[in-house]
Symmetry: C2
Subunit: 341 residues, 2 copies
DNA sequence: GTCGTTGTGACTAACGTACGTCAAAAAAAA
DNA sequence: TTTTTTTTGACGTACGTTAGTCACAACGAC
């Protein structure tokens, strides 16, 4: 049988009320008494029964999740997953509110964050775009005791409590390891397509990618990064030009979205031999391109799992409970045409 | 505000007691009244507050996990993970009991299962070895309302409620896709090392592997599977003989354990060019071999995550609650030397 | 000494459910 | 109809915690 506050009260030789005052940080308890109670708690290994506490408090967890708007298929699946998750969380008294924000727009994100009324929300998660204003808005929220976590793309150097997402440097290194082995062993060029260098996940993926290519595959030359803004039309145009300018492109790493543009550009240019291609995220389009053999590998993060991790972490943060490192950890999955589910 | 049993009672125009009888399947309620109550529940969208119910019931979840004994590093990490998980689950009134069983021994497993007293355990998880006696023991437990889930290795055709683990066919296909691309394009042979064909995960991995190699890489010839019983010494000896007999082995897929034996055999035989090697599970030894460049890829499943999934699924099963498909899903991770954490 | 302040204890009503008892009502059987 | 059986209602207590009220000390300041 677990110890209860009654046991603690008896052990510390104080009343129930005093234990409650200590436990919930209420005023009116002498320092010496606080120590007595805490000692008793430690001695008994008392742990508050969160279920009973929540029942008594009628606690409600109100979380806001900010996800970029637009045609990005991954963000779309994140939004869909959020909508699907809502009903599942009702029994735990967790309410999720989705908020759409313009992609790659730090100012808009900061404005949205500042628009969150402190009393109405218990935690915030966001796919971050880097910017001073954003970091400051995060700091304000945290100061108001509203925990903020970043999702998919981090905001390093800010006050955000946690980052939920894959290790993007490792993802970039994985892409490089695969592409390095898939490419012929003769000198050739690699194209890198990113969305924007304003989002940290893209920056980190490119960093990891370059680390490995430079040190392990020096015969491969990395071309300047094409910024496609996760937009198929922009990617299409940019890549078309790149392929025309460099007939010896042997591999392509697409570390952002807009892969429809990549597919179209390759369909247009009859490049032989076909370059090896590693992309990010399993979406209907990338899946199809894997099956047809156009893409060689897709590095995937599971959005549904990330959302569950966000909820678990935010909950632990508001409860000031320890965070399970396993729940928090998001794995990098590699899909080839051969192992598509 | 969520509906409570009070609301349901009012809506159905019956007393609290009757709602309780219906909800908990107690006898003494007319069929017509049951329908009235259930209609009210549906109309209000009532969901039982599990926390309050558990509080009232002083519910305790007692789960038993059966994990193979022996030097297998992956099973060792499962056992370690289980021990570490125990304290984390105490607040949720979940008790985990680890039970070691001999590896690849269906009879011993069945005996252990039969030795579980029905009243003392609420759920069972096991790393299964296939066998008729095992399936029958599982059926008996399930019949006694003790849910059984398989972990890591499945027991298809049995009454087990769920399987928690990776898609092993997909894992084998992944290995084949990688090895096919890593190997030279000239005809050569592939060695496959398994633990035993008595465990389903190994069977399925080999199946997936052969599917892909046969159809996509017909120039690669798969040698008869070496059964190493997850034992380094057996693997060492067997592989040594195999390498001596076939100087043209260009790739090795080790889908079980005992990789220390694989490493030793390769260190002994100075095989050039070094064969491409894909193994399973990140352990200290496979990690080291990846870094040194001896292994090319390791396919990993996260044991800690699997254990958490087991607990979540067993809990949902005893509560007859819906199972979140995302929690249940275990991803296949691919590690190259480049993306080791 | 009286005053206000601070620390403490005793008590109570919730939160939503489980589960028991007992009596009353309704339905079925005699 | 009466008797028996089945069905239903009313009520109480419990689970562990929160959060409030009220009373009464002990303490120092004046």
């Amino acid at each position: 049988m677990r110890a209860t506050i009654h046991d603690v009260a008896r052990e510390a030789d104080v009343s129930l009320s005093t234990v409650d005052r200590v436990l919930n940080g209420r005023a009116g308890v002498r320092k010496a008494t606080v120590t007595r109670v805490n000692d008793a708690i430690a001695r008994l290994g008392y742990q508050r029964n969160v279920e009973a506490a929540n029942l008594a408090k009628k606690r409600l967890y109100r979380f806001v999740v900010l996800i970029p708007d637009g045609p990005n298929a991954f963000m779309q699946s994140l939004r869909d997953g959020l909508a699907a998750l809502g009903p599942l969380l009702a029994p735990d008294r967790i309410e999720l509110q989705a908020l759409a924000i313009p992609a790659f727009d730090a100012a808009a994100l900061a404005t949205r964050l500042d628009g969150i009324a402190p009393g109405t929300v218990d935690g915030v998660a966001m796919v971050a775009t880097e910017g001073r204003a954003v970091s400051e808005a995060v700091a304000r929220l945290q100061a108001q005791n509203v925990p903020v976590v970043t999702l998919v793309s981090d905001l390093p150097g800010s006050a955000r409590a946690r980052f939920i997402g894959i290790d993007n440097v490792a993802a970039g290194r994985t892409a490089a390891g695969l592409l390095g082995r898939f490419c012929e062993k003769t000198p050739q060029k690699l194209a890198v397509i990113a969305g924007s260098m304003l989002v940290r996940d893209h920056v980190e993926r490119r960093l990891g990618f370059e680390q490995v290519i430079r040190t392990e595959y020096p015969h491969l030359e990395i071309l300047p990064t094409l910024e496609g803004r996760d937009d198929a039309a922009v990617v299409h145009q940019g890549l078309q030009a790149l392929l025309a300018a460099h007939p010896d492109i042997g591999g392509i790493y697409s570390l952002g979205a807009g892969n429809r543009g990549l597919i179209r550009a390759l369909d247009g240019a009859r490049h032989t031999p076909r370059p090896a291609i590693v992309v990010h995220e399993l979406t209907p389009h990338t899946r199809e391109a894997l099956i047809s053999g156009l893409f060689d590998a897709a590095i995937n993060q599971d959005p549904a799992r990330e959302l569950r991790a966000v909820v678990a972490v935010l909950r632990a943060l508001v409860d000031r409970a320890p965070i399970d490192p396993i729940i928090e950890r998001i794995g990098v999955e590699v899909f080839l045409r051969d192992n598509l589910a």
